[in-house]
């Protein structure tokens, strides 16, 4: 019985390549009362920094991990338990804790693997997590890829089958963008759904991916259970073209880093590895052309070309709108255009609100998808 009330806090694994992380700082102290979703500690990896949140409530009984120290993933770094669990049981739990060793092939079975789908829009990369009848499809924004959902996909997969894809021109998908518009990308998403046999899904779109989600709902309403629009395009004309132009033009670490800092409320989150990964993407043959074509198609004349608030309302699809209050790319004020939608503006977060305030955003999406 008591084991059930002792909850291990371990070094998380964010993304396929993470092997270790640095415990940067504890955000709570021993004896603090914890509820699900509370941020316990900050972890830094070479890719990104983020907070580890409590999955269940209780008391933070033991901080084991030292600040400023690197631990391999799955290492026990803390214990949450109910107040009535004796210290001796905690000691025993810590003493006997064994880091789970990945068995042969377990890594692939447990974690997501990159897969590829040959769709009418070309070869698209995706990941699939969980196995539930309820399906969620995550659609990233301009210049992004499926790793933008690093802090969301696993959490959402607890109660749903979660797909995340790379849109054409992005990530490791084809760099050929047949129709470089929101409508063109929506058609690509629908052909992806056909290929991997997703009949109906909750769509979660970030930024340009939000506009794509609305357009999918407009084109194929019966296949869309709900749309969650995060810092979304498609709801108003404004777009930070300095960011878009800078992202397309930057070819060096020194140029790209200040551009990326616009994405976050806390610019310190832009790590060396994040910049490096994006540069590696941007150097691929065809990416420059794809991004330029999308820039000209989606943000023609420095304005958002697809204004879809009316289409969203007309579709009658349930909608959730989430925004970082400090979004410097698409103004949070656009949220008001989504008539009839539930709107959440999250303080202390920027355009990448699903990374900066992952727990809050995951909680909101879970409610939306009925998880």
């Amino acid at each position: 019985m008591s084991e059930k009330r002792i909850i291990p806090i371990v070094m998380p694994k964010w993304g396929l390549s993470m092997a270790e992380g640095k415990l940067a700082s504890w955000l709570m102290k021993d004896g603090d009362s914890v509820k699900a979703g509370d941020q316990l500690l900050e972890v830094e990896t070479d890719k990104i920094a983020g907070a580890v949140e409590a999955n269940e409530g209780g008391i933070l009984r033991r901080r084991i991990g030292q600040e400023d120290t690197i631990y391999p993933i799955k290492t026990l770094i803390g214990v949450v338990a109910d107040a009535d669990v004796p210290d001796a049981d905690i000691d025993a739990f810590v003493g006997s804790y064994v880091v789970p060793v990945a068995e042969e092939g377990e890594e692939e079975a447990a974690g997501p693997r990159y897969e590829f789908a040959d769709t009418a829009a070309g070869r698209l990369r995706y990941t699939k997590r969980g196995s539930d009848d309820n399906t969620v499809l995550l659609i990233h924004g301009f210049g992004g890829d499926l790793d933008n959902w690093l802090f969301n996909a696993d959490a959402l997969a607890e109660g749903a089958t979660v797909y995340a894809l790379d849109l054409p021109g992005h990530g490791q998908s084809t760099k050929k963008v047949d129709e470089p518009t929101v409508a063109g990308l929506a058609k690509a998403v629908l052909s992806f759904m056909d290929t991997v046999k997703i009949d109906k899904a909750h769509l979660v779109g970030h930024s340009m991916g939000g506009a794509v989600a609305i357009e999918v709902a407009r084109l194929a309403k019966p296949r869309v259970k709900s749309v969650t629009l995060i810092s979304s395009a498609g709801l108003g004309p404004d777009i930070n073209m300095d960011y878009i132009d800078g992202f397309v033009a930057s070819a060096s670490r020194r140029d790209l880093k200040p551009v990326l800092e616009n994405l976050f409320a806390d610019s310190g989150l832009v790590s060396r590895q994040m910049v490096d990964d994006l540069l590696k993407y941007k150097r691929l043959d065809g990416v420059g052309d794809a991004l330029t074509a999308l820039k000209n198609g989606v943000f023609a004349g420095g304005r958002q070309a697809a204004l879809l608030a009316d289409a969203l309302a007309a579709s009658g699809v349930p909608a959730l709108v989430v925004w970082g209050a400090e979004d410097k790319i698409v103004p949070a004020a656009h949220a008001t255009a989504a008539k009839g939608a539930k709107v959440e503006i999250i303080e202390g977060a920027g355009h990448m609100v699903q990374m900066e305030q992952a727990g809050r955003v995951n909680g909101l999406i879970k409610v939306m998808i009925g998880g």
């Binding site: 670490r253 060396r272 490096d276 590696k280 150097r283 691929l284």
Partner: protein
């Protein structure tokens, strides 16, 4: 799609993809096919270390085995480049450039300037550098500073498979002559490399490790020695920022200066000899530009002013090591 492949495979893939993309690209050098004119198999070698293996089957006569005649074939590569082709010539060991240096530094490097901008010479000369192979004085040198000295040449030294592919593709697409230096000890090293083609722009140093106490500036094989030293020093809470220059000409001064401004300490590591080396070049630039940012004297870790010795016991002492680098870092930290 990224997967782990060796630097040898990455270079082969870069040549393959560029030959497929651009019909003016051709590859020439000694034994790059191997077995020509004999009764045995063609593509017997694919270069002395197998970098070009398999390309002959795909591209046939666009791979040209040359006589042992560097000044003729390097000169021919330069001439063909001035006539609109994009030759990739393999000069087996950088040590051999003594017999064809004129074609490189008096011809290829100078056409653009001395013809008033009217000529372009997009030739790539691939060549092996570096010690540790027990190959002695004429097959082990790192003569990069000799080329860096020459205006008109670009000098590229990848430290891993990812950089090797992207830098070689950039070298082939680049419209200036490029000396592309491959360290012998890195051919087998595997890193994540995308299958797709990509080009890494020149003049972009790579910050391979971030740290706030000391900046280590290096390139090629020594990047790995520096990383080993940095890992060891991290245990003593000394955090090194390690900069892989990737291209020596052009060189990314901004990244170097910005880093030293943050750390205030500099260790330059170069497998070349100390005099007029990349290490001394970087040291001079930093002293000249941001002397006030320095909290301690600059340290250089280089090979000594001797030829490369043969005996393993001597060569091991000759080469810069992680220990020597760590010692130099500690010296700067002592101030």
């Amino acid at each position: 799609m990224a997967r782990k492949i060796s630097m040898r495979q990455a270079l082969n893939e870069a040549l393959d993809q560029e030959m497929a993309r651009d019909p003016t690209v051709f590859v020439m050098g000694e034994d790059i096919v191997g077995g020509m004119g004999g009764d045995g198999e063609k593509d017997a070698w694919g270069g002395v270390l197998g970098v070009t293996k398999g390309l002959y089957a795909k591209y046939g006569d666009r791979l040209l085995d040359t006589p042992l005649s560097e000044s003729a074939y390097i000169g021919a590569a330069v001439g063909a480049a001035a006539c609109g082709m994009r030759p990739v010539a393999e000069l087996m060991f950088i040590d051999f450039m003594g017999v064809c240096f004129d074609e490189i530094f008096n011809q290829a490097a100078k056409f653009k300037y001395m013809f008033g901008g009217k000529a372009e010479t997009p030739v790539v000369i691939r060549t092996m550098i570096g010690g540790g192979f027990r190959a002695a004085a004429q097959h082990s040198q790192v003569l990069t500073p000799l080329f860096t000295h020459i205006p008109g040449l670009k000098v590229v030294v990848p430290s891993n498979a990812y950089d090797a592919k992207g830098l070689l593709i950039q070298s082939i697409r680049d419209n200036d002559p490029v000396i592309f230096c491959e360290h012998k000890n890195l051919y087998g090293l595997e890193t994540d490399v995308p299958q797709e083609s990509y080009a890494i722009p020149f003049g972009e140093a790579n910050v391979v490790r971030e740290g706030k106490h000391v900046t280590i500036v290096t390139y090629g094989m020594m990047v790995h020695r520096a990383l080993d030293a940095a890992a060891a020093l991290a245990k003593d809470k000394v955090e090194c920022e390690v900069i892989d220059l990737r291209t020596l000409s052009p060189i990314d001064w901004d990244t170097v200066l910005e880093s030293v401004e943050n750390t205030g300490r500099l260790v330059c590591v170069d497998e070349a000899h100390p005099r007029c080396s990349i290490a001394s070049d970087v040291s001079a630039k930093v002293s000249q530009e941001i002397f006030k940012a320095l909290k301690a004297g600059i340290q250089m870790v280089t090979s000594p002013h001797t030829p490369v010795p043969f005996s393993p016991s001597l060569e091991d002492i000759y080469l810069p090591s992680a220990d020597k680098i760590a010692t130099a870092v500690r010296k700067t930290m002592a101030n």
